[in-house]
């Protein structure tokens, strides 16, 4: 995710949405077995991204945007006071084809960058 003050500006910093922690404790694993909404939402966002790789339409972009905007509204994602717009981008990480038992060169590239979403009028579309 990236934040800017002007709609046409380019974010100078990108932050990952819900980065994974270093490790979980046994108690956290047990809780997540029964209640894990954030991770399941992240899995859904991944599914939307996969649909976009397969040529899916803007429904999936909007689904991702809605969830990111909701996280901002809830205070989960913190941005600077002068930020008025949010961008997001999707990175694709894959390994190049090689022989079956060896890992290929891992490539990480930006697959898609969204348009700007205004934060002050951010109303999540259901």
């Amino acid at each position: 995710m990236g934040f800017v003050g002007e709609e046409d500006a380019i974010p100078d910093k990108w932050i990952p949405f819900r980065p994974i922690p270093v490790r979980f404790t046994l108690t956290q694993h047990l809780i997540r077995l029964f209640y894990n909404p954030d991770w399941n939402e992240l899995l859904y966002i991944n599914t939307c991204a996969e649909r976009l790789f397969e040529g899916g339409d803007k429904f999936y972009i909007q689904e991702i945007a809605n969830r990111l905007l909701h996280a901002i509204q809830c205070g989960e994602v913190v941005h600077t006071c002068d930020a008025k717009f949010m961008y997001f981008r999707i990175r694709a990480t894959y390994s190049e084809d090689t022989v079956a038992d060896q890992m290929g060169q891992i490539t990480d590239e930006v697959f898609l960058q969204s348009h700007a979403y205004a934060l002050n009028v951010a109303k999540v579309i259901s």
Binding site: R23, P37, L43, N66, H70, A100, V124
Partner: protein, 229 residues
């Protein structure tokens, strides 16, 4: 296990799975949150065994709304299994005779068996799975490991090769377990452990509850099969 008991236990387990899903949706927003407010009490009524046909019918309708809303399942295979269990339960309740009840409920057992077998077959046909590379890639760079420390498993190719083959063989021989009660017990413990591992490693917690809900059907089916043989 009698059909009646198996259906009742399935209702309880499915109710718990749907309740778990609904409580997670309450954390969200939009249509899914509104539907969760309806589905959570319905799931409790299903657990309690109150008007199961009517409750299953309304749950089925809300399920179709959710599938339409997300253009498919929200949570992949776990939602698909929940829907399958719900549909089979519903058909079991509306079936006009014992034979049709058994066909509806038996379909769930067969579908579960085929799901494991087909999954094992697909992995067996895949060179990356046979060499352990598929799991190495999963841990190395995909979005599925739930913590950074788990990525270190990608550095243990021998362990992942063993894990790959244990999963492949376990899934492929699952149908054979239907022919012996001890084998079935071992197979169900194996698959439940597999789902639990997926929940811990990849955060696929909903799979555990959805797939467990189908286990009474397979236990009943095994007993029915033994009666016929």
């Amino acid at each position: 296990m009698t059909l009646e008991l198996a259906v009742r236990v399935t209702e309880v387990l499915l109710g718990l799975a749907l309740l778990q899903q609904s409580v997670e949706f309450l954390r969200g927003f939009g249509v899914e949150k509104k539907l969760a407010l309806l589905r959570a009490p319905l799931a409790i009524l299903l657990i309690a065994g109150v008007y199961p046909l009517w409750i299953a019918s309304i749950l089925l309708m809300t399920t179709f709304i959710l599938i339409t809303r997300f253009r498919g399942p929200y949570n992949g295979g776990s939602d698909t299994m929940s829907v399958l269990v719900l549909v089979c339960l519903w058909f079991t309740h509306i079936a006009p005779s014992l034979l049709w009840q058994e066909i509806a409920f038996g379909y769930l057992a067969l579908q579960l068996t085929l799901s494991y077998f087909q999954s094992g077959l697909v992995k067996l046909e895949n060179r990356e799975w046979r060499s352990g590379k598929a799991l190495r890639e999963v841990f190395s760079f995909t979005a599925y490991p739930v913590s950074e420390s788990l990525r270190n498993l990608a550095l243990k190719p021998r362990l992942l090769l063993w894990a790959s083959w244990i999963v492949i063989v376990g899934e492929l021989i699952f149908p054979i377990a239907l022919l012996h009660s001890v084998a079935l017990t071992i197979a169900l413990v194996f698959t439940a452990t597999f789902h639990l591992a997926n929940a811990i490693l990849f955060g696929l917690n909903r799979f555990v509850w959805s797939w467990l809900a189908a286990y009474p059907a397979i236990i009943w089916f095994h007993h029915r099969l033994m009666d016929l043989l």
